[in-house]
C-alpha cells in the first residue's frame, strides 16, 4: 500500500497539488479548469488512463459535484481493489455548465454523472444517451441539449422484429413494487431494449441535511435506507468520531458489530423471502418470513420498535443491551441456522427453482467496470469484502468466510446471500460469547450531551459543543453494508456542514440492470431485478 502511494506521488505529485489524507488514501487536485484546450485534454485523458492501467484503480467508487459560490468542482473516488487503496481526484470546472464524461473509460461513471445532472444545473458534454431529468415529473423540466442517435441492437432477426412491442412494467406492481418503472421492448419472450425511470422516492436528502440542526442528522440517517436503520447512522456517527478522535469503549464496539450483522442477516432474509415469494415458492417464503419474525422480536426487545429506532450515539451506543437480550439473540441465531440448512437443501433439489434462477450471467470484469459492490459483486467471483480487507472493530479476531459465486447469475446472488447470512450468525455467536465488560458509552468528549439519550426533546439549548466539531476538512468514509459499499463524503467549514454526499450501492446496481438483461428472456429479467435487491429509498435519496 505504501509502495503504491510512493509511486503515485512520484509520478503525479510534482505536477499536481496533492495531500495525504487519512490512512490508505491520497488526494489529488488537478490544476485544470473546463473548458479544456487540446493540450489540456490530452493531460486530462492521459491521467485517468494511467490511473486505470498503470496503478490499478479499476473501480470508480463515487463522484460528486461540489459547489462553492459560483465555482464548481468534481470529486472522484477511485479504488484499487488489490491493496484497498483509495484515491481522491478533484477537478475544477469553474463556472461552466459542462463537464466531460468518464463513461467510456469507467462505465460506472454513467450512474453518478446522471445522478449529478438530476440535482444540479450542469450537463455532460459527451457520452450520454439522454439528458432528461428523471427525478422530476415528466414534462415539467425537460432539458435536451442535442438529439443523439438511439441505441440499436446489433442482433435483430427479421421474423421477430414485427412482433416487438413496448410494454410498461411498474412502478407499483410486482416485481417493481414502487422501486422504479421499466419499459421493455420485447417480442417472442425476449428483451430487446429497456428504458428505466426512477425518482419516485426523491426527497432531496443531501440538501436537507445542510438545513437541519446538527443533532437532528442522526434522525435523518436512520431513515436513509428502507431495509435497515443500522448502516447509515453508524457511518455518520463513525465519521464524526474519526474526525474528533473520540474513543469508543470495547463493549460498544462489540455491540455495534452484533447490530451490523443482525441488520445484514435481516436484509438477506428479506431478500430471500421476496425472491421465493415472487417465484411462487410459498412454502419456503413462509419459512423465511417466520425467521424474519425471530429477528424482529430481537429488535422489539432492544428498542421497542422494528424499524427506524435510535441505536448509535457519538462515542458508543444509545443504551445498553437489556438484560437477557444476548441469550435470546444466541438462541435465535442457533434456530435460524438450523432452519436455513433444511430450506437450502429443499431448494437445491427443486428443478423448477434451479431452472428459473440460472439465467443472466455477469462476468467479474463487467461487474467491476459497472461499479457493483457487495454480495452482487461477490456473486461474480470477486473476493472483495471490506470487513476482511480493512477490518474494523473486532472483525480481525472473529472467524468468518467470504462466500463467492461463480457466474454471477440470479442463482449465485441467491446463494451468496444465503451463505453470508450463515456467516453473519457465526459472527454474532462469537462476539456475544466474548462480550467485553465495561461501559456502553464514552461520555468524555465534545459531542456528548445527556439530552441525546432521550429522543423527542428540543435540542435548541446547550449544543455549543457541536461547533467545535467543525473545521475545514473533507473526508470520505465507507462501510460494508448489506448491499455493498455505503459511502459518505463530507466537507465542513468552521461555520458548519458545507457539502454532504452519499455513495449508494443501489444507484449503481440500478444503472447496471439494462446491461444485465438486454437479450435475455422477459420472465428471467423480472426475476433478475428482484435479485439485484435495489433499495429505492437509498437510491433516490
Amino acid at each position: 500500500m505504501h509502495k503504491l502511494r510512493d509511486e503515485l506521488f512520484k509520478s503525479f505529485g510534482t505536477d499536481f497539488q496533492s495531500s495525504f489524507s487519512s490512512h490508505g488514501s491520497l488526494a489529488f487536485n488537478l490544476p485544470l479548469t473546463f473548458p479544456l484546450d487540446r493540450e489540456e485534454t490530452t493531460i486530462y485523458e492521459d491521467f485517468f488512463f494511467r490511473l486505470k492501467d498503470d496503478f490499478g484503480f479499476i473501480m470508480l467508487l463515487d463522484l460528486t459535484l461540489e459547489t462553492d459560490g459560483s465555482k464548481k468542482s468534481l470529486v472522484y473516488q477511485f479504488l484499487n481493489l488489490e491493496v484497498y487503496f483509495r484515491l481522491q481526484v478533484r477537478v475544477d470546472i469553474g463556472e461552466g455548465q459542462f463537464f466531460a464524461s468518464l463513461a467510456s473509460l469507467y462505465p460506472s461513471a454513467q450512474a453518478f454523472e446522471e445522478d449529478i445532472c438530476q440535482h444540479e444545473d450542469i450537463y455532460i458534454s459527451n457520452g450520454l444517451k439522454s439528458q432528461q431529468r428523471v427525478l422530476l415529473a415528466q414534462g415539467k423540466k425537460k432539458v435536451k441539449i442535442k438529439e443523439l442517435p438511439k441505441y440499436e441492437l446489433p442482433l435483430r432477426p427479421e421474423s421477430e422484429a414485427s412482433e416487438k412491442k413496448w410494454q410498461r412494467f411498474g412502478p407499483y406492481e410486482s416485481p417493481f413494487k414502487g422501486k422504479a418503472r421499466a419499459d421493455f421492448l420485447h417480442g417472442n419472450g425476449k428483451v430487446f431494449d429497456i428504458e428505466m425511470e426512477r425518482g419516485l422516492h426523491f426527497r432531496n436528502f443531501e440538501k436537507q441535511t445542510l438545513k437541519k440542526d446538527f443533532f437532528h442528522l442522526t434522525f435523518l440517517f436512520e431513515r436513509l435506507s428502507l431495509k435497515d436503520c443500522v448502516f447509515a447512522p453508524l457511518l455518520w456517527v463513525e465519521t464524526m468520531e474519526e474526525r474528533l478522535k473520540i474513543e469508543v469503549p470495547d463493549k460498544a464496539r462489540a455491540l455495534r458489530m452484533v447490530w451490523m450483522e443482525l441488520a445484514r442477516s435481516e436484509n438477506h432474509l428479506l431478500f430471500l423471502w421476496e425472491l421465493t415469494h415472487d417465484l411462487g415458492f410459498f412454502a419456503e417464503a413462509s419459512v423465511f418470513a417466520e425467521l424474519l419474525e425471530q429477528i424482529y422480536h430481537l429488535y422489539n426487545l432492544y428498542a421497542g420498535k422494528t424499524q427506524n429506532f435510535p441505536l448509535f450515539n457519538f462515542g458508543g451506543m444509545v443504551k445498553a443491551a437489556p438484560l437477557g437480550w444476548g441469550t435470546e439473540t444466541l438462541e435465535a441465531a442457533k434456530y435460524i441456522f438450523k432452519v436455513l440448512e433444511d430450506v437450502d437443501g429443499e431448494l437445491h433439489r427443486n428443478s423448477r427453482w434451479m431452472k428459473e434462477t440460472q439465467d443472466f450471467p455477469m462476468s467479474a470484469t463487467t461487474a467491476i467496470e459497472l461499479g457493483i459492490t457487495g454480495p452482487n459483486l461477490r456473486a461474480c467471483g470477486v473476493n472483495f469484502d471490506s470487513r476482511k480487507s480493512r477490518p474494523r472493530y473486532f472483525y480481525d479476531d472473529v472467524e468468518f468466510e467470504v462466500p463467492l459465486g461463480i457466474d454471477g447469475t440470479t442463482y449465485d446472488r441467491f446463494l451468496v446471500r444465503l451463505h453470508e447470512l450463515k456467516q453473519s450468525l457465526r459472527i454474532i455467536n462469537q462476539v456475544l460469547d466474548h462480550l467485553p465488560a465495561g461501559d456502553y458509552l464514552n461520555k468524555n468528549h465534545v459531542l456528548y450531551n445527556p439530552l441525546l439519550e432521550k429522543r423527542g426533546v428540543d435540542f435548541e439549548n446547550g449544543f455549543s459543543g457541536a461547533q467545535e466539531a467543525f473545521r475545514k476538512e473533507e473526508s470520505f468514509t465507507m462501510v460494508e453494508s448489506s448491499e455493498g459499499q455505503l459511502g459518505l463524503y463530507l466537507k465542513t467549514d468552521e461555520s458548519g456542514l458545507k457539502h454532504l454526499h452519499i455513495r449508494s450501492s443501489s444507484l449503481v446496481h440500478f444503472y447496471s440492470y439494462p446491461t444485465l438483461v438486454r437479450g435475455g428472456s422477459i420472465n428471467g429479467a423480472l426475476t433478475a431485478f428482484q435479485s439485484l435487491n435495489i433499495d429505492p429509498w437509498e437510491m433516490d435519496r
Binding site: Y172, K177, E293
Partner: protein
C-alpha cells in the same frame, strides 16, 4: 345506513357494503419502510391472523378498491398516484400510512390529502403492526357501515 325499517332496498344496500367489507382488495403503493411493516401482515403473525394473506401481492389496479399509500410523495409520484386512483374500482377508499404521507413531516414533501380524498390516517414512523391492524379493522367497519363512499353520494 342503520335504517329502522328493513325493506328490500335497505337490505340490498347492507348486503353490498357487507360484501365489500369482507372482500376488500387493497392496492399497496410501496417501496419504503412502511411497506416492510405492511408486508409483515401477510407473514406468519398471530396478531395478523384475520388479515387476508394476499395483501402484499399487487394485482391489477382495476380490480382493487382500497389504495394504501405510504412513503414520501414528490411531483413525480403524485402524477402516478393520480393515475392509479382513477383506475381503481368504485367506490374507492384511500388509506394514508405513516407520517410522510399524512403531513410530509420529516422531509417536507407533499401530503397525500392535498390531492386525494383520504379516509383513514395511520400515524407513526413507521406505524407499529398493532396500529396497522387497528387501522385496517377500522376501515373494514367503516365500509360495513357504508361510510366514506364519496362517489356514491355524489352520484345520488
Amino acid at each position: 345506513m342503520e335504517a329502522s325499517v328493513i325493506n328490500s332496498k335497505s337490505f340490498l344496500a347492507r348486503m353490498k357494503s357487507w360484501s365489500r367489507a369482507e372482500l376488500m382488495s387493497p392496492f399497496i403503493v410501496g417501496g419504503n419502510c412502511c411497506t416492510r411493516e405492511l408486508a409483515r401482515l401477510s407473514g406468519p403473525n398471530p396478531q395478523a391472523a384475520n388479515i387476508r394473506e394476499d395483501l402484499i401481492d399487487n394485482k391489477a389496479a382495476g380490480s382493487c378498491d382500497v389504495l394504501i399509500v405510504s412513503g414520501v410523495i414528490n411531483e413525480k409520484s403524485q402524477a402516478y398516484l393520480r393515475e392509479l386512483y382513477e383506475s381503481l374500482m368504485e367506490p374507492r377508499y384511500v388509506m394514508a400510512v405513516g407520517m410522510c404521507t399524512a403531513s410530509g413531516a420529516l422531509f417536507e414533501t407533499i401530503p397525500l390529502d392535498s390531492f386525494l380524498p383520504v379516509d383513514i390516517y395511520i400515524g407513526g414512523c413507521p406505524p407499529t403492526l398493532e396500529s396497522l391492524i387497528a387501522g385496517i379493522e377500522k376501515m373494514r367497519s367503516m365500509v360495513r357501515r357504508g361510510e366514506g363512499q364519496r362517489e356514491i353520494h355524489a352520484q345520488a
